[in-house]
Subunit: 131 residues, 8 copies
């Protein structure tokens, strides 16, 4: 059983995913990694989130980054979003991730900052006594 | 059977919805209107979209406006998005709606411009010979 | 007779045009492609749009991207706009395309996302029973 | 015969138009004022510009402010654009007006600054020996 | 002992704080609330954070919103930041909160969205088995 | 005697200056070119502008591009500003040039668009009967 | 003899000026206040700055806020700039003030933050042993 | 004893630091340079600032650039901030540095403009009679 699920919206987010994984590896934390787009794989994503035992979800996405919000709408677990930069420097993904409606929270970290998503997840697992 | 489905993400988008409805009413076009949030009602939304016979979907949403993109991922019909303005003047909703990944298109109209969503839907129905 | 007209404002938009064409080719849809600037060829553009039998217009333009709006003002057919990125990352073209006045709608897709313009056009043609 | 043509894209730009007119009145300069949208009245606009004897065109528009650029594409006379503020504070109209392609210049003044359009026109008329 | 510490940078953030408190009250969660500016009360803030037993910190701040980041640098507990809107619509506080350097994570929620900070904190406490 | 003065704020604006000169050369128009910063050479700039017989001033500057406005404050002749792009894509120079106070107009062209400054100047000279 | 010169570009900046003055009054520091626009009163401004004995200049301006930079180009004393908000929330004035070319520094404080300009000036006077 | 302290938030800001040092070296001014992050080394930073005899602090930082503000909260000496550009062109660091709350001033210079920080510091030292 993984403590953390990392989901990226596209294979092109790989470099940001690696930054996340490196921090988790250093902390010796088990994770599961999936490439599932909120837009291209809505049903697989739904099934994955609902069947996952992970305590924290890290969602990495660019452009109209709906992934973290969609995951947050399907789980009671905390969701961390990582905006990925593109033509607009990542401001599109940042706003898409952070400006969630009341009741469906996502904790957003900095643009391309996969490492901080992992660090935040580690802090949450520590509070949960899982480290 | 309605030709057009209007979905708004929140009851607070009412004023923009009315601008859409007014244009459709003037054109004598049947529509169905639902308030369904991509984040708060994902399952109802999923069911509604998959069971709808509408030829065009108009999705009205503010903030991290995932609604149009989520609908576009669940239907083969054209989806039109209307960004609703808030603290940032609507630029957050605009980018969330328009910056979709390849393969899941949304046609975005101007901020708060519910009327133009209706006008664009009318043009599409005309091409389909449904007017 | 082509079902779709692709118009780009400048020969330098070629790369984005190709992304559009690739999707249409894969779908086996006939298109006509023209380079016509709203600013440099207003009369040819006017004549082309008014004489075209296309059911959907895809207009690709950067900077002060007036092309989609000008075409929308001259046809009853749906118009899809594709903003092309430049010094400002495409935010200039995006706002120029999407912020149309009421009554003259353009459905805007993402920056440089010629593929999604084609995908949206295909959805419209499907509704029209032309696929 | 008027020396200056003022064209606004919409009756709602009235307040900005008045600022322009006040400066011209104070300078004792004859002008002609029209409300003609580049998007809603393309043919009337075309006819007006081509038949006008004005030496300078002042075009006032908000949102996707195509008006100044469209006028500039139809006349050899200098065109001055005035962006009108809206939901986004006028940055949409500003970028739409100023980011013209090479060969079709518009001289843009500040957001809502109808007065400066008149002052710039007066400077041009002075150079032309028409004051 | 409180499970959550709410810190706002200024008494003027009161309205946003109330939205946070309302959610925690509804969930029946104990919290401690302090007004402590990272810039005006650095030593009190330092002492408060280091002596607190809270499991989650919610930091609410506008302008150059250093508060969440400074708190994150002084605790191993997860920190949630809430940007407060001002002249620039809150984009200044949003960027100040979210763009943290690697290793010092803050989970940022939407502008003025004190409710979502509380909702995210509740999710973290649930994972920790504290509800 | 030159009809047009081109002033750039820095030698690093050279590439943009060349685009301006090329258009003027093609039109066979005499110009004078100076590198004079509003900030580093205020007195030489003052003297140059006041002693110049040019009918139009083209001012090319980046960053906090005060040059066009300062020249406009010292001459009755029309001034055209060209914003030069840098770290922020030229939005800093654009706003610095275009947002002039009432009474001191600058006609701003697109970012890095030295060519359009020349084209606009040519239109003004044509109105003045100097071509 | 005043230790500090406050210059605002327009009488409409009065409210921001008052915030500056209040801080200086509380600190018991002598100041001189002038309304002098870099664009509308360049010669008076030049004369005032060159004849002033002030140790610090505080320049308050909106829009294309050239005032602080122009003053900085005419004095060896430190210059503090205060951007004043308008249609664009003050981002135009902020960029105009802060993005100065190398060699002509302005220390910019927050938008509409006249108080902080005074506080920074007080810190400079303290270093100079003038309090 | 150094007259000026230069603090950068990260070793990666080196290039901007060098621009600062070059100007100070040319002016023959003694400085002390430290790499101390407001977020990663809060205690060392606190100790350094409180024990320093420097008359001016120059703080260089990118992203959520809390460094200048944190230093300003711990010293009576003037603090100059230099925003460092990144994915968003430096607008994040600029807003983080300049938008300080009342009472804790930072004088911000242009993005990546380490040279101007030094020039401003030199002006302050000159006023203090330390050159």
């Amino acid at each position: 059983m993984s403590l953390i699920s990392i989901i990226s919206g596209s294979a092109s987010d790989e470099q940001i995913v690696e930054r996340t994984i490196r921090v988790l590896d250093e902390a010796g934390i088990d994770y599961d990694y999936q490439i599932l787009s909120a837009h291209r794989n809505p049903d697989e994503l739904d099934e994955y989130v609902k069947n996952s035992d992970s305590l924290v979800f890290i969602c990495i996405a660019g452009l109209s980054a709906a992934l973290p919000g969609v995951v947050a709408s399907k789980t009671d677990k905390p969701v961390i979003g990582v905006p990925v930069s593109g033509t607009l420097g990542g401001i599109d993904a940042l706003l898409s991730i952070v400006q969630m409606p009341r009741g469906v929270p996502v904790g957003c970290v900095g643009i391309d900052n996969g490492a901080n998503a992992a660090h935040l997840a580690v802090k949450i697992l520590a509070v949960a006594g899982k480290l």
